[in-house]
Amino acid sequence: MAVELRPPAARPDRPPRRPGLGDTLRQAWREYRSMRTALVLLVVLAAASILGSLFPQEGLSPQRVDQYFADHPALAPVLERLGLFDVFGSAWYMAIYLALLGALVACLVPRTRALVRVLGSRPPRGGDLARYRTQATFTTPAAPEDAMGAARRVLRRGRYRLAEHDGELAGEKGFLREAASLLFHVSLLVLLVGLAYGKGYGYRGQAAIVEGETWANARVGYDSFSPGRFFGAGDLAPFQLRLDDFSNSFYPNNTPREFASQLTALDLDGRELQAQRVAPNRPMTVEGVRIFQSDYGYVPVVRVTDAKGKELLAPQEVLTLRDPATEWSTGAVKVTNAKPQVGLELTMFTGLATAPDCPGGAPFCNDPRLIRPVLVVLAYQGDLQADRAQSVFTLDRSRLRPLGDRPVLLAPGQSRKLANGMTVSFTDLKQYSVLTLARDPGVPMVAVAAGLLLLGLVPSLYVTRRRVWVRAVPDGAGGARVELAGLALQGKPAFEAELARLAEQVARGSGGLKPGSPEDRGTLDAPERST
């Protein structure tokens, strides 16, 4: 604890007593709230966090966790039992940080009490000034009272709190350090509480909306949804979102420049609430829910008719998966009412170019800009096994065989015949936007705590605690011999010079040094320096 400058005077010896359980507990408690415990727990917390970055985390990249299970089938279940795929939500991680929080609370209570006590008391007397390590002495022609007056002025200007103990002036400063340190630690506590509160009562989810569509904020509308522990089913704010337009652009070197959704929020009756262009770093807030631009993709609209022109598949919006590296999108169409069933694998290029126009002699390449969209269709025939759960983006080809020997290429508006006489039409092309929706009611609390934490941190590192005592005695020739002594808790190396400067100011304030006096400089006794 940094509040007491010196250990309290030794108590008179008590008769020795066998330590009981109470003493052991008290000792353990004292040990728990000591800085050593905080230090050890901080190191343990850091070490535990490393694990969270070495293994893929469920909350961050579930696909990579699945991959890990596939790669290490024997090891992965063991790691999962140990919580290594969800380190930051695991019981043992929680135990470490709760222990640290407990230690924090346990040390803050006595620290606060000690600070209040010290603030309420007067700076104590220095006693025998000769025993202090840092001191300065000089003689001045001024009378002792005048020298003391000067010292008072100098110390007050130096923002010392002063007290007078018969003939001795005691000054003390730097409580801001401890106060700021307390502010820092309390803010840290509040920050962590706010974090837990926001996590418990908030949620986060992703939804995909196709251009022109209106999406309702309901659990079923989300492709992924992770609610906090205390988030109730009825807590979703009642609103709808309409994606009026989606646009994306690229730099000349084909790296993405921007992508944005023009969104309109509606209430459940369809009245417009607000409209905004949502782009990365430019979210929209509706009823306390923050809406972010996450991703996007293409939605070719495909129609299939049989050889006689009968419609097998009414114009269908096919959601495709976009590969951000190449900007190709892949998807699948399942024509279950054809006999035999027909599956189409779609690859959509935004700007397909072939051999001579591609860099590095590649046979084909893609321009990410939507300049010449082409849908490449590979057809299969057989059993789609549509009654089994499967991805909407791919076909299960285990009971399918190719239909025709070459892919069919379609530009928007075009139709082509497949080998079995069916016609595939690429009737329209839309885009979809993937939005992240999140609500975190802990944000204001965390933000305020973070601000106060920073505010407390700087003075807690830079303000230094000092005590200074001044005494002036007649030198027997009409002047005064002035003694200064001091104690520094922090910044000790600088303190000697500081005290010398104080002495100089007091000397100047009381009419200068006595000419010819043996000490016309502050003598600094510093047998050993320590930091």
């Binding site: 190191v43 970055s53 961050l60 990249s61 770093n281 965390v446 941190l457 190396p493």
Partner: protein
């Protein structure tokens, strides 16, 4: 000048800066080893020239890409050079006696820059949309400054450990005499013994001074690092809708923060002051370096801007 010309100029200036710093570090090294003032003065001159080239490299890069020049690891490396060297020069102007330590300040900066130039160099280009925010200016600038300063603090902790070992070895077996005069004589003897058997390492400032230096530097860097993390959280809140998500980059920043907080506590804890605290600071350095190099390149996360 066209953007391409500017980018080329920037690359040339960056290498010029690296070469200047290597020369300056060598000169400071000579001053440190042979105590020849001339080397140090020349070292400062070359450092200033190198800094000018370094700033020029950053400015031309910024003009070439039309944004702040700290958007990828190569650019970070250039900025690290500016911050470290500027810091060193400012500090030198206040305490000229630290000049021979320049070799220990410049060498890490040179390594960072050379590594950036050799391994992580990317042609001048724009930012991906997710990085395109005014917070990149604040967060990334604070992160580079904070981590540079904290790395420097660790360098002082390493020097402290070296010097502390030298002092421990050279301490006379018997405790110093009590009487003042006798003790003074004793010290002179010890000094002579030190001068006779000294390795260059004994020319370092006293272990106490280095320990204090390490502490002061950490106390300067720690709030900046704290601010960088908070600014990053604000940015993450704006860009990804969550201020904290245990992304590997965030996790490692938190680890570094925790380790340096432990260091600050250690310096106020009996039994940890001194050597153990210094080791904590070195662990902190390791986490910063890992975060910058390994996390950007090896571990996959949202912060995958390191990219080559």
């Amino acid at each position: 000048m066209s953007p391409a010309d500017l980018a080329t100029t920037s690359d040339t200036l960056a290498w010029l800066a690296v070469v200047s710093y290597v020369v300056a570090a060598t000169l400071f090294g000579f001053e440190f080893a042979y105590r020849t003032r001339w080397f140090g003065v020349a070292g400062v001159t070359v450092t200033v020239a190198g800094l000018a080239a370094n700033v020029g490299a950053a400015v031309t890069r910024g003009l070439a890409v039309q944004r702040v020049p700290w958007g990828n690891m190569y650019e970070f490396s250039i900025i690290v050079g500016i911050i470290t060297v500027t810091g060193f020069l400012v500090w030198l102007s206040r305490r000229p006696e630290i000049r021979p330590l320049g070799v220990f300040v410049l060498l890490p900066a040179v390594c960072a820059m050379a590594l950036g130039g050799l391994v992580f160099r990317v042609p001048a280009g724009p930012l991906v949309p997710a990085l395109n925010s005014r917070w990149i200016v604040i967060h990334v600038a604070a992160a580079i400054t904070g981590s540079s300063v904290l790395c420097l603090a660790s360098v002082f902790s390493i020097l402290y450990l070296v010097k502390e070992r030298v002092e421990r070895r050279q301490r006379p077996p018997a405790p110093p005499l009590v009487a003042g005069a006798a003790r003074t004589a004793d010290r002179v003897e010890v000094d002579q013994a030190v001068a006779r058997h000294a390795s260059v390492w004994s020319r370092l400032p006293s272990a106490d001074t280095l320990d204090h230096l390490a502490y002061r530097t950490t106390a300067f860097g720690f709030p900046i690092w704290t601010f960088a993390i908070i600014a990053g959280a604000i940015w993450a809140q704006a860009a990804w809708g969550r201020y904290w998500g245990w992304d590997p980059k965030e996790t490692w920043s938190f680890i570094s923060w925790t380790v340096f907080a432990a260091y600050l506590h250690a310096r106020a804890t009996a039994g940890w002051r001194g050597r153990r605290a210094a080791w904590l600071s070195i662990v902190g350095l390791a986490t910063l370096v890992f975060n910058f190099y390994a996390v950007n390149t090896v571990i996959v996360g949202l912060h995958s801007y390191g990219g080559r």
